[in-house]
């Protein structure tokens, strides 16, 4: 089977969070980009786990060819990382805009998947840790007419099925749910899948020599209509939090505790 994993380069969300908590997050002159050059760029963590899900299928004995594809201004680094982790083929869909419309990104990814020999399984992270939108997998599934399963924590090939069928454990607010879906399908992967593997030194060196296949929109002969943005990022800002915290007085832990419980009872929040 052919598995295509869609990966995205993002700013390290932990570094962004640290700057934000320190009140030092900077927005660039365009009003929407985060400009701190000290924030590392890396593969979206959920996407790395999507790739890990593909590799675990292969480890489980599923004969498969794994491709990694990415849309963005500079995708070579994460694609080589994907190759070092075990992707057999890597493809780049260059796009200059650092905050591309995800409808366009999804259209490009779907067209790439179709034109490169289709996929039995399209894997994506549940969302990208920059814009948190998580809509690209759903847009791909609709463009390709495939079913969508979200928030997988485990993916395996269902035993004794007539046609290739996936058995997926998905994370829901009510606990784990087990579903089956026939291939081809789009599946998103959640952090509950667990730690992705590290590439070995030998694989890293081999991956350095791999060059991503560069695919242009012209090469995909997509109608201009498909590439027209519909949701355009205008402005990014750090929301202000209305802080009205009352620090409860008290000299000792016991005094603090009693003062708090008294307030919560007064506010009828507890009995």
């Amino acid at each position: 089977m052919r598995i295509v994993v869609c990966v995205k380069e993002v700013l390290d969300p932990d570094a962004v969070n640290n700057y934000a908590l320190a009140g030092r997050l900077e927005i660039g002159e365009d009003g929407k980009s985060l400009t701190q050059t000290t924030i590392p760029r890396l593969m979206n963590g959920f996407d790395e786990q999507a790739l890990e899900a593909a590799l675990r299928l292969r480890d489980a004995g599923v004969e498969c060819r794994i491709g990694a594809v990415s849309v963005g201004p500079d995708t070579a680094t994460i694609l080589k990382h994907a190759a070092a982790l075990g992707a057999d083929e890597i493809a780049a869909l260059p796009m200059d805009d650092p905050t591309p419309d995800y409808h366009v990104a999804a259209a490009l990814l779907a067209a790439y998947i179709r034109s490169s020999g289709d996929a039995d399984l399209v894997l994506c992270g549940r969302q990208a840790s920059d814009d948190d939108q998580g809509v690209v997998p759903a847009l791909i599934c609709e463009a390709l007419g495939m079913p969508l399963v979200t928030n997988a924590r485990a993916i395996e090939l269902a035993p004794a099925a007539d046609e290739p069928t996936l058995r997926i454990t998905r994370v829901t607010p009510d606990g784990d749910e087990v579903v089956e879906v026939s291939c081809p399908a789009v599946v998103t992967v959640s952090n509950e899948l667990g730690e992705p593997r590290y590439p070995t030194a030998a694989k890293k060196i081999a991956a350095r020599r791999m060059k991503p296949e560069i695919i242009t929109p012209e090469g995909l002969s997509l109608p201009a209509e498909t590439l027209r943005p519909r949701v355009v990022a205008q402005r990014q800002f750090v929301p202000t939090v209305a802080g009205d915290c009352e620090f409860v007085p008290g000299e000792s832990p016991a005094e603090l505790a009693e003062a708090l419980v008294a307030r919560l009872r007064q506010d009828s929040l507890i009995q």
């Binding site: 079913p147 990014q236 708090l260």
Partner: protein, 327 residues
Amino acid sequence: MDAKPIVVCTWNESQGGLTVGAEEALTLGRGVAGATGAKLRLLVLGPLPEAAMETAGRFGADAVDWIEDAALEAFSPDAYVEALAGYCQQESPALVLFNQAADTRLVAPRLAGRVGAGVVMNGVDVSVGEGGGLQATASAYGGDTQMVYELSGAPSYVVALSANALLPEPAEGGPTEPECRVISSDLSGVQERVRVIEQARAEGPRLEDADIIVSGGRGLGGPENYKLIEQLAEALGGLAGASRPIVDEGWVDSSQQVGLTGKITRPALYLAAGISGASQHMAGCSAAKTIVAINSDPDAAIFRYARYGLVGDCLEILPELIRAARQ
């Protein structure tokens, strides 16, 4: 010609009520409808909850559109998307608003893909921009930032609102009397492609429904101290939650995780002990009516969100709180 309608989409949840967040979506939708001179409609998929007409009226809707079909009785993404796509083709709404629950991700963006609409998730606001078109504000980076998106170039838009986007406000000037329109649909050709083999079984009460939540974070120092969180939760008649770092470290099960990628809660009281207040975590609890923070660092971000703050070691304060709460 009338402006294209603003539609709030909801479906029945197990308790026979509207999905949580429908009132918030109606509140926002009413504002957008007012600003664009459009009608506001509540669209219900599947069985019509008893509260639907009353709620729609109280929040100023002009109509309740009801798609009744056996295929919509239980949640089924393929049937829901097909029904909504048919509705959008027939009614050409300018905007379809959802409240964002886990199931919404299986419906809202797929609907957009199906009908060629634009879509924004994690919405906190929709308004009319300077140019007269719609714009949506959505949280990004786990809530560290917000992004304003211009919605132009597509015939219609789909926006899902975050659980904590806004507070519901009934219509000023009293309730309207919405008409109930039964919308026909043909879903006979739809067969759900994803087959449920084992249903999720919620074990015990859910954090999403809890009135009181006590959560612990890395400030607890080690997994052995998480029992303090559970004991205080029990003493207060609430449930125990956790921040993502201690879930990732394996101190507690991921079902306890409160945050952007965990449970989105809205309790009356949320008590956070030893939690720094990362945006990722706050996305799951900032809808709480009252937040209490215990942290040894007086500059911790959590205090910016808190109503009451206790500065000190949570390992010393928690046992005293358990004692005081039991008295």
